[in-house]
């Protein structure tokens, strides 16, 4: 067996492990093992690559790997569970960045793909555009979630200007690419292509409001996968093709599932729609002053202590306040009083799908207490108290009732069907999507203002005293 055969064989082993590992990731019981199996596959793929004949530059390769490890390991170890979405965005971004850089060097190294088959140029340039978009888009997503940039949509110019500009940038990138494929060797074209794609990446994510962010990260994840697959075709590397394409395909499905959960189409999200209507609480559109009933922690505690069934609806507010442990503490106190407690998890609550599940799992909340949307909605009618912790848009009845609301049609948790609602909220500011929530003005609703963690701890203290 030649060395090349051995490498190909190891690649086959590697991508089999990727697929097997991913299959494991789809079930709660096998997930940890699945992830580790995929990691083993990655190690095998790296070893196989190092076996390629005529390899050199070992010092530089080691340097790159060492720097990457020195940055990646502590980042992954130390990131707080609540900051997970940003971290995934960042890891995704650097992957896209790597793709774009490789394509750029390929261009320089081959003198503008001179003497290379046309398909190599096409796939490399595709990878360069998509990788660059993914890198910059992910960085903007990171900055928005990390609150380095405002979460609200940022647009250039009025109306459709943004979309026209985006289209022009894409056309510019493709034009540069076409010129390179048809024989031009000027490096300025390659730099222009990368630059246009970079600006496009910024422009595509900047106008997107926070509520759509999970979908965007997932979409960029799929993009990076596709660009990795394209790099694989250009470099004739099976492991890259298979791994990249699997991620491209699975990421697309995941994106679609999430978009469906919000009843939004992916094109309309990318075009940037959310947050167009910005109304802050206090007055309705017709200017009528609306009344918000605020409550105290002790009242909330009493209300829950005499309930039979309490449903907790967590949202991004719980994540930012790091309130998951305090919440679990409170549920245990309620359960000691014989009250049935469950959690209603909206598929896009928080900033990523499953965000709430991860946080609550971190706080040791039993898996069986977490109810998904359909199950939860069938239970609200016989619920005494629904406790909404920093979840705005997923509980907004406008999505059901008000046809001109930007979130109209998005499936929501029917919190307002329960006998009473307590909303924990920092202030009357509207949610990330910038949409007012009539739930707060409902007759059954009382608001408990303040930091979610502090409020929940106070309620726990009051419960203990009861």
């Amino acid at each position: 067996m030649s060395r090349n055969d051995l490498i190909q064989l190891l690649y086959i082993v590697a991508f089999s492990l990727f697929i097997y590992g991913l299959m494991g990731l789809t079930g709660p019981r096998t997930a940890v093992r699945g992830n580790r199996i995929a990691a083993v596959g990655m190690a095998i793929a790296v070893i196989a690559t190092l076996l390629i004949g005529g390899m050199g530059n070992w010092g530089l390769i080691a340097l790159g790997v060492a720097v990457g490890t020195a940055i990646g390991v502590p980042a992954a170890r130390q990131v707080r569970m609540t900051a997970m979405p940003q971290m995934v965005a960042l890891f995704n971004g650097v992957g896209g960045g790597a793709v774009a850089l490789i394509a750029w060097v390929e261009f320089r190294h081959t003198g503008g793909f001179a003497g290379e088959p046309t398909y190599v140029a096409i796939f490399s340039l595709f990878a360069a555009i998509v990788g660059s978009v993914s890198f910059w888009g992910s960085n903007i997503a990171f900055a928005k979630l990390q609150e380095l940039l405002p979460g609200r949509p940022i647009t250039v110019g009025p109306g459709r200007t943004q979309q026209v500009l985006n289209l022009l940038l894409l056309v510019a990138a493709i034009t540069c690419g076409t010129a390179i494929v048809s024989g031009s060797e000027a490096e300025i074209l390659m730099i222009a292509l990368l630059l246009a794609a970079a600006i496009l990446g910024n422009f595509v994510v900047l106008p997107i409001g926070g509520a759509d962010m999970p979908v965007v990260i997932s979409l960029l994840n799929a993009f990076t996968g596709l660009s990795a697959a394209a790099t694989g075709v250009a470099l004739n590397n099976t492991a890259l093709i298979v791994a990249g394409m699997i991620v491209g395909a699975s990421g697309s499905i995941l994106t679609n599932l999430m978009a469906q959960a919000m009843n939004r189409s992916i094109p309309s999200i990318v075009a940037g729609g959310f947050g167009g209507v910005v109304t802050t609480g206090g007055t309705s559109e017709d200017g009528v002053e609306r009344v918000v009933r605020s409550t105290s922690a002790s009242d909330a505690a009493v209300q829950m202590a005499f309930a039979n069934r309490v449903v907790i609806v967590p949202g991004y507010g719980m994540a930012v306040a790091q309130a998951q442990h305090a919440v679990h503490e409170m549920t245990k106190l309620l359960e000691q009083k014989g009250i049935e407690v469950s959690f209603a998890i909206h598929p896009v609550a928080g900033r990523m799908p499953g965000h709430m599940n991860v946080l609550l799992a971190e706080a040791d909340v039993p898996y069986e207490q977490l109810h998904e949307m359909d199950q939860a909605n069938s239970e609200f009618a016989r619920t005494d108290v629904a406790l909404v912790i920093g979840a705005n848009d997923v509980s907004n009845p406008d999505a059901r009732n008000k046809a001109d609301s930007p979130i109209y049609g998005m499936p929501i948790l029917n919190v307002d069907e329960s006998a009473s609602v307590i909303v924990l909220k920092r202030s009357m500011n509207s949610g990330f999507a910038g949409i007012d929530n009539p739930l707060f003005y409902g007759e059954k609703t009382s608001m408990l203002f303040g930091d979610a963690k502090a409020s929940v701890s106070e309620i726990s203290e009051e419960l203990k005293a009861l």
Partner: protein, 109 residues
Amino acid sequence: MLLTNLAILVLAGFTGYLTISKVPNTLHTPLMSGTNAIHGIVVLGGIIVLGLGVDGALNKLLLVIAIAFGTINVVGGFLVTDRMLEMFKSRPAPRAEAQEDAGPDAPRR
């Protein structure tokens, strides 16, 4: 060679599609994070191009950055996913235990 690679590309696409089509909501975040780690495989591209030799300091510098980026993607991605998934593990069994020492949840970090 191109056609073989295209065939692999298409088949891998369908494989990815079929593998993922049935995942509970709960696992969406770890799954995204896990697939995210897998596309870090681009690090191989950087290693191949650099290993087979390029000229010029700029080319080398760009590739070292690419390899570092790819490594961050791989190592960070798998570690983060592992951390997330560890929390889902051991759910039903140690529950009784957890309820016994029901004191204030010690911050775990």
